[in-house]
Assembly symmetry: D2
Homo-oligomer: 309 residues x 4
């Protein structure tokens, strides 16, 4: 795969004239300050090679991408019984919709919409104070990426805490249906901190490499989950990873992935590589506009789509 760097470079060349497209998330004040004219991308292959381009070393708020790591932790704690608390189906609605919760008795459709991620966080917290749960996640992500320098951006966490009314509504609604064990403010405290994880493309690609490599990180030798669980997390990312744009992402890119409103997208080419891309401008459904374009180019130029070459 000597030409992966060439492919990344060609993508960068094609993307550069468009840098700045899309709209930075503005409902979280701290994110609204980010300069949209940035783009970075990193590929880490299962044999440990790293390819990068652009602003791949600038840390950004991973936001909803953190839901993948929390899901992994929750499955590690309670296994398949997690699915009593949250479903596994695409939602057919916006990431922060509450309608589905009312129609389906407080059980969120999947772990990647906000309500589902909040339920997953509640599961991870079992037996922990909020501060401990945040610490556990941070240690887990550092361990996955083999990088102790990863941090949580407190300013972003605070910014969300002050404006996250819809998330407060979702959490209280689930609590009303007894689908939340801990006090709402504790669960959201953890949730807002996990969303505020600050990572650059390389850290993110390394942290998720286990999903491309049968559940183990080939660079560190750490076994994280079983091959079966890795497949299943990938399946969830493919069907539900981009809110109400999941079908579109599968159609155009063809890789399991998870996006965040910070402009990052994490993607997996099973058996081959993990990929992280970042560009802050978002499209209409809230996914990084150029990130999605870059991944479509990557899939087309490498033949990595899971749906055929």
């Amino acid at each position: 795969m000597a030409d992966l760097q060439a492919i990344l470079d060609s993508i960068y060349t094609d993307i550069l004239p468009r840098v700045g497209e899309g709209k930075v998330a503005d409902y979280i004040p701290e994110l609204a300050k980010i300069d949209p004219r940035q783009f970075g991308m990193t590929i880490v292959t299962v044999d440990g090679k790293v390819y990068r381009v652009g602003d791949a070393d600038i840390a950004f708020s991973i936001q909803s991408i953190s839901k993948v790591f929390m899901l992994t932790l929750a499955l590690g704690k309670v296994g398949e019984s997690l699915w009593k608390r949250v479903g596994r189906e695409p939602s057919g609605s916006a990431f922060n919709s509450i309608v589905q919760l009312e129609h389906e008795s407080g059980i969120p459709r999947n772990p990647f919409i906000n309500a589902g991620a909040i339920a997953v966080t509640d599961v991870v917290m079992a037996g922990h104070a909020p501060r401990e749960a945040i610490g556990e996640l941070l240690r887990f992500v550092r361990y996955l990426a083999d990088d102790e320098s990863i941090t949580i951006d407190d300013k972003v966490a605070r910014s969300e805490t002050q404006t996250g009314y819809r998330n407060v509504a979702l959490a209280n609604f689930m609590r009303a249906y007894r689908n939340l064990d801990h006090p709402v403010e504790h669960v959201l405290g953890v949730y807002f901190h996990q969303c505020a994880l600050s990572m650059n493309c390389e850290q993110l690609a390394r942290a998720g490499l286990f999903l491309a490599a049968r559940g183990s990180n080939p660079m560190t030798g750490h076994s994280v989950v079983s091959p079966k669980r890795a497949r299943r997390i990938n399946a969830l990312m493919l069907t539900c990873g981009h809110y109400d744009g999941s079908g579109d992402f599968a159609y155009h890119v063809g890789l399991p992935g998870k996006s965040g409103v910070g402009g990052g997208i994490f993607a997996v080419a099973p058996g081959i590589a993990s990929i992280a891309v970042w560009s802050p401008g978002l499209n209409k459904v809230g996914n990084s506009q150029l990130g999605a374009v870059a991944l479509e180019m990557l899939a087309a130029r490498t033949g990595w789509s899971v749906f055929g070459d």
Copy 2:
């Protein structure tokens, strides 16, 4: 792949004691008469080998699986402009729901829910009388499977025509939103006939082999669609192919697939094989119960999941 037959045999052994599970579709009178104690499965690999087990040579009503062939025809006719008429996102609701249509101005969410398939049929009909459109589809499927013996079961088509009130409602609703060009009864006439296509597992696996083989049927040499389009149809099957059970199917099986209420499931292992399985008993979301179980076994025993081995 000398052991594929052995894997099929082992699946058959495991399934046999459970044959009869699930509930035969009863809302179409003609289908309600089918004996649920049947199970067949066929694999056709991209190098042209055929493996079969059980009732693989008994013809059944492919029902919604026909939506894959009609979608292929429609994309061939109008290309990507098809997506003005129908979306590409999972619906988050039942196969015959009309709620989404009203909330989204008569544009069905995807081509694999009933409303979307009816819109696709309307597109395929352009310039044709109903009888001609039915003939075109039949010729296309025979050509794909390289088998002139495939027929349409008129009794099933008539049975649906007499009881398909929800489909009549869906079609009229779309017509009210001007998302149907032809008279409702003509479109549904074609639609009910396409659903009544009668095929056995082997015919079905052959007919869909092009989706596993970069768009061309390696057994006949026929080029059907471009590799890109084959990938995209596979992506749609994975995200939307099993109604509100699509996420679950991806989670457990990990292969693009399309189910029908006749008890058939068609699945694709990109670059490797196409698979057809049939067992009439359905699970709660309307997919073949043992068909799904058999495919999960197959994916586990072969490592064919698109999400990793």
Copy 3:
């Protein structure tokens, strides 16, 4: 009540400069041709006096106002058992919405939304051919108004038959839930004809006078329904008579009433009078804009609001 004519005249004076406001219903081609610059109003008191102003003698299509007469017929036939087939609650949605039907298993929310009226028509048809049912309604309305000259406008009925896709959808949807006994085309045949009843303000006010007068028409001496049933029909008109504008009508006018997209509104001042007003321009929720304004003026100037003087 010698000054009722003076009040009507003052209303007419105030309305005249605004005649032409609103938008003629355009989804029924035959109605789209009506000149919006018309306004008529008639009051018939329970002691048999008739007051009129403007175009009170021009016949118009009463459309949904006919639902009141069909409901009266249906209650006469099956009594309170009617409420197994249709509810009595405001719908909280548009007159032709199908969403509620799916969420509530094919039982329409009330007899004054389209779906509910179609179910009521199905009840009235029991034992009748469509032509007979239409004849029965026409005889009933002529009897109520004591006027044999009332007719049905076949052109309007045909116009609706050709474009009423949403009503066809509603009827088929209910049939799927087994909440329709007769063939859809028969029920809609009757429904479209009842909507095409052509009456002028005076005929309409006379026909509905029994609802203001304890169930009997004081002008003809005919007893139509019991006092209790008259009250109940009035209650249904007040809570559900104007689709998703019922609350607003109650707030501003304060009289039980039923509107139609032909621009007519029928209203009742219990114990005092029945009122018919007509002006073809509709407001945003599909009710006669100036008709509603005129009734608000009438209620204010007479003190007839049921909610206090």
Copy 4:
């Protein structure tokens, strides 16, 4: 009206054997402790006569009936501009539904569902600390009833504060849509206290007498609102006062009214009397079962229905 007492007595005789029917509200722990075997009723006529029967002097939690008094205060403060913040249409859904809020951008359908009442409370709070707003309401209700002994039950208020997750969800959801000016916990603090107003039937009937008497309390001579506003509040009670049972209440009783989950119902016979009834057992839609039955008897035996005698 010498026989009003006789009518009340006859109702009491008919109700007594059924006392205990229905189910006490159990989602507010403090209310769940109430003995369901209680029934009281008071009528106050516009000429100042008071008729009572049963447990008319036992104070109960008026809960949602308080929404009528808060609406009156809010209209007094901001007039018709209130309707920018809340609608005037029946909701077609449960009292605590959040679905409608999402579909209609955070504007509650009417002031009598929970979300609407919370918005109204927010309006009343303008310029006040929560404690002051609660004090203002308490003074207003005491003034209306001419009874300084009316209090707020702090235990009930606290009980709701601890379990009112759905209300917290509703308030945060509206805040997300910028339809709440004050901090959620402040608004809900006031809201839960207003719901905890403790009054007996006689106090309640007196407090609401102005709505039966053209806006002024004939017993105290206090002018509260204009006749027009009194009519309009009555109209809102009739169309929206009993959540998704409003149509049914209008059909059977025919009087404007407002129910609360504490088992109270307040009703108005415009120009004649105000009525308060209390019995803690609730029916399926959350209204006092025997309270509704008693009011239906009263309307039938007095001819007070606004829809005709």
